[in-house]
């Protein structure tokens, strides 16, 4: 019971942080709205002069895809620097380690609160998409239901990826532009802006064997009725990544414990 309360208090910290720092939160919302407007214009312009579909994708799907993709990513894809990295740099990790619940649990709990606080962004994203006339319905009721289920997996995959990146800061102490680089690689390979359908074969293979696509592309491909290898396979791959990433996080953390540096301590 006390453990549950402890976890809940971490969730609440994560939930409150974005509302305490309203400036950056508003900034993210503005950027989301701007990006959706920009990519909508760009896709429509690119498609002009290419009638019909390109790689099986119509302009309506490409636009709806990027609207949903940016919205989902803006809710789920947290920056790892909000979690462990900054705690390590400032030496606060020492406090975290004294807490009555394990570091992985508390970090995940904070991230869950963070994601929950991000949910209002869907109003911005979808509202902007609606205003631009860019939304299309799911491929069918079945696809819609599977999309929701896949989003749950995507949530887990995304949080574990963020956690894993955060854990790596025990070694790197957040050196240089790694966070920035991680962000852009994640956006690219998760298919947030460009569906993996458009990628040349070799790049598609790279994207397919990495976990990023399971965090955005998979639910979207289900929504548009084009899951890779069928619905069950797509969901199975997501579930597989949840297990693998969880295992990786536990393993990395067990190694990290031996080399924690509490800066300023």
């Amino acid at each position: 019971m006390t453990a549950i309360r402890a976890v809940y208090s971490q969730v609440r910290i994560g939930w409150r942080t974005p509302w305490a720092y309203r400036g950056p939160t508003l900034l993210t919302m503005m950027i989301l709205a701007a990006q959706i407007a920009l990519y909508t214009v760009v896709w429509r312009a690119i498609y002009r002069g290419h009638s019909g579909t390109v790689h099986g994708t119509s302009v309506d799907v490409a636009v709806a895809y990027v609207i949903l993709g940016l919205t989902v990513a803006s809710v789920l894809d947290l920056w790892p620097r909000q979690s462990i990295a900054s705690r390590v740099r400032e030496g606060l990790i020492g406090v975290d380690l004294l807490r009555p619940i394990g570091l992985l649990t508390q970090t995940l709990a904070t991230q869950v609160g963070n994601v929950a606080a991000n949910i209002p962004q869907t109003v911005i994203g979808l509202g902007m998409g609606f205003a631009l006339g860019g939304l299309v319905p799911a491929h069918g009721p079945g696809a819609a239901a599977a999309f929701v289920l896949s989003l749950v997996f995507a949530f887990a995959v995304s949080q574990l990826i963020t956690l894993l990146m955060g854990l790596s800061s025990f070694w790197t102490l957040e050196v240089g532009g790694t966070t920035m680089l991680f962000g852009v690689v994640r956006t690219f390979l998760s298919g947030t802006v460009i569906p993996l359908w458009f990628m040349p074969g070799w790049l598609r293979t790279i994207a397919d064997v990495l976990p990023f696509q399971a965090a955005t592309f998979t639910p979207l491909s289900i929504y548009f009725g084009r899951p890779t290898g069928g619905l069950l396979a797509a969901l199975g791959v997501q579930a597989g990544w949840v297990i693998v990433l969880f295992g990786l996080c536990s393993w990395v953390w067990s190694r990290a414990q031996r080399r924690v540096v509490i800066q300023g301590g």
Binding site: V175, G176, G177
Partner: protein
Amino acid sequence: MLRQYAILLRMGFAAARQYRADFLMTAFGALCYEAVSLAFVGVVIHAFGTIGGWGFREVAFVYGIRSMGHAIHGLGFGQLWDTDEVVRRGEFDRYLLRPIDPLLQLMTRRFQVTAVGDIVFASVLVTVTAIAAPISWTVARAAYLLAATIGSALVEAAVMLAISALSFRLLVTEPLMAVADNVYVTFGPYPLNILPRAVSYLLTFLLPLALAAYFPAAILLGRSGGLFVPIWFAGCSPVLGVVLFAAAIAFFHRQTRYYSSPGH
């Protein structure tokens, strides 16, 4: 003034190099960042073949000019992103007390390490894409390309200076800068005549992105047929860059009058 700038820049550079691993990783990270953003455009062209009738080599050339312009801008004016903080925390007090132009001090308060990676990447890219582009190079054209990249940097700097100058009155300009930056990154590499005419004009006269890559590239590629402005206007892009930049500097200086030191 230039001497002061050189001294301050060198000091910042020396300070940044103290943390060697951090310096290298940051520069390398920035380089990869640019590479991934090029990959976005690459995937689109791979899938579509042409964009508005422009092939891969031509679009890549637009991208080359823009990335070089962006890199030079970053080296000189990357610190503008911190204007809000400098104003809000009163760091600007210090700049007003020293006998050097406050803007110069703001620009050199830290060395923009990411710009090193950007410049390495952009130099290679602009060279490769210029060679690959279907242009028969003459000395005059090469000189125009050089002017175009500098003009591209000046246009971006002018936009960012104008926005960050509002910081003295508004205190918060970062969202505006972020939106402008997003526009530059998202639309930068494309031939802008594919956009709806209203958007094209917005990107020429309100947020002058067209001057920063598309116009000079169209001139060099002999693609002036698709231009939505008179050809002489497009050709003058580098000159307009200088004019806009000078205007933005003047605007910034005027706005500093509205600075009120925090806590007083």
